[in-house]
């Protein structure tokens, strides 16, 4: 039986993993290659590396970081952050990524999804959607934000998820901007409705604080996978502990040997 995936996310700036609360007060958390290997050994099903470097010089560092991290990593490895063209995606694949995640650039130029999918296969393109809701309003009105959640696009989340799928995205990485950083739980209502609206798998992100939250987003939120970022810095020890707790709650997971 197909299992629910726990994806460990590393936020990387200038070649180092950083941790902070909602990108404020960032502190150094270590070397990406070492941390990725440690997450893989603990039973994480995939690794996502998100580059939060904004500068041009940082991009060269990113490719080097991807190369070093990929070298000893034999589970799926996704790289996102600032990928604007099929050529930039190709460089990241060459450096050892298996998938790329695109966000703002795909909203600005949806053709980017088609272009990467045609060259590298649909399974290699994850479309990341940052969603924000007005409290008390239905999910159908949830809006897509870009630029790290700062800029509204006027696009509806469900409609954009469907377009991304039609253009050949392999997965959707759905972040609830409202839940992000709260550690009060995922937005299960949002996740479930997006998951029902598309055929492709949906990865839930934003709001994780406890193992119970992960169980909820898999069972109520109908997520296929969930991203664990700061929860491994501030809460649950690692993927092994998280998965053992999920298994006890009846969630099918790949338990490490």
């Amino acid at each position: 039986m197909l299992t629910k995936r726990i994806i460990a996310c590393l936020d990387v700036r200038s070649g180092r993993v950083v941790k902070g609360v909602q990108f404020v007060d960032l502190v150094d958390a270590g070397d990406p290659a070492e941390l990725a290997a440690r997450h893989a050994a603990a039973g994480a099903d995939e690794i996502v590396l998100l580059d939060i470097t904004a500068t041009h010089e940082g991009r060269g560092t990113l490719l080097d970081t991807v190369r070093r991290t990929a070298r000893q990593l034999f589970i799926p490895f996704t790289v996102g952050g600032g990928i604007r063209s099929a050529d930039e995606a190709a460089a990241v694949f060459d450096a050892g990524a298996d998938k790329v995640s695109v966000n703002s650039a795909a909203i600005a130029n949806p053709q980017l999804i088609d272009a990467i999918g045609q060259s590298f296969g649909a399974q290699a393109v994850i479309v990341a959607i940052d969603a924000r809701r007005v409290q008390g309003r239905p999910v159908s009105e949830a809006e897509v934000f870009v630029s790290g959640g700062r800029t509204r696009t006027g696009r509806r989340v469900i409609e954009w998820a469907r377009e991304a799928e039609a253009r050949g995205a392999g997965e959707i990485l759905l972040t609830s901007m409202d839940a992000d950083g709260t550690r009060a739980g995922f937005d299960c209502e949002l996740t479930a409705q997006v998951s029902e609206a598309v055929e492709i798998p949906v990865i839930a992100s934003g709001g994780a604080g406890t193992a119970e939250h992960f169980a909820q987003v898999f069972q109520l939120g109908k997520a296929h996978a969930a991203l664990a970022a700061s929860v491994f810095h501030f809460g649950i020890a690692d993927a092994r502990v998280l998965k053992q707790e999920l298994a006890q709650r009846g969630v099918r997971v790949r338990l490490p040997c």
Binding site: L2, R5, Q123, C257
Partner: protein, 198 residues
């Protein structure tokens, strides 16, 4: 020497990296002559079955047939496994190598497609390719079409029915999952293949 065939379907970096980690030298090639001379041949691939059309048009398919005929071990990964069957409904005009009988088809309705993530394999204990991989081990899949279970199937996975996770006939082998992305179980499969006697 191991030849990894480049037919512009997906990315070869991860397969090369895994072979390197196992301590085996491999060359990426699109040359039929190099394929014919190689001790072992790997055909990776993610993407559309149509992409294998290039193999026929470039005479790589003939080179693979010759290589298999000489007894050189062959491993098809993902679409590379599907290509060993007669064809796929994904691209009906494109013919497979027909080493194994049957057509690859899209997953039936009722399950999410693509099938992405870690799923279990029921392992045939007699298999050389799957040797040392425990029954019910988890491996990583990402695909929308699957090959039927045939008499040469050596690993079976359930997802909206049973399909071939791995096939093996003599030295001709294929895996639908990605051994280069399947952690320790996947590395064991690759090690079994590269260590086969030629």
């Amino acid at each position: 020497m191991i030849a990894v065939i480049d037919y512009r379907a997906g990315n070869l970096t991860s397969v090369m990296k895994a072979l390197d980690a196992l301590g085996y030298a491999a060359v990426v090639t699109a040359e039929p002559a190099v394929v014919r001379k190689a001790e072992k041949v790997i055909l990776p691939g993610v993407g559309h079955f149509q992409a294998t059309q290039v193999l026929v048009e470039s005479e790589l398919a003939t080179a693979v047939r010759d290589s298999i005929g000489q007894g050189a071990p062959f491993l098809g990964i993902c679409v590379g496994l599907q290509w060993l069957f007669e064809g796929s409904t994904e691209a009906p005009a494109t013919r497979g190598l027909s080493v194994f009988s049957g057509q690859c088809e899209r997953f039936a309705t009722g399950v999410k497609v693509p099938h992405v993530g870690w799923n279990q394999v029921r392992v045939d204990a007699q298999s050389r390719l799957m040797r040392g991989v425990e029954d019910c081990s988890f491996v990583y899949y990402t695909h929308s079409y699957r090959a039927p279970v045939v008499k040469e199937t050596v690993a079976v996975t359930e997802y909206g029915g049973s399909f071939s996770g791995a096939v093996e006939r003599g030295n001709v082998m294929g895996v639908q999952f990605h051994p280069e992305k399947s952690g320790a179980a996947g590395m064991q499969v690759l090690r079994n293949f590269v260590e086969l006697a030629c």
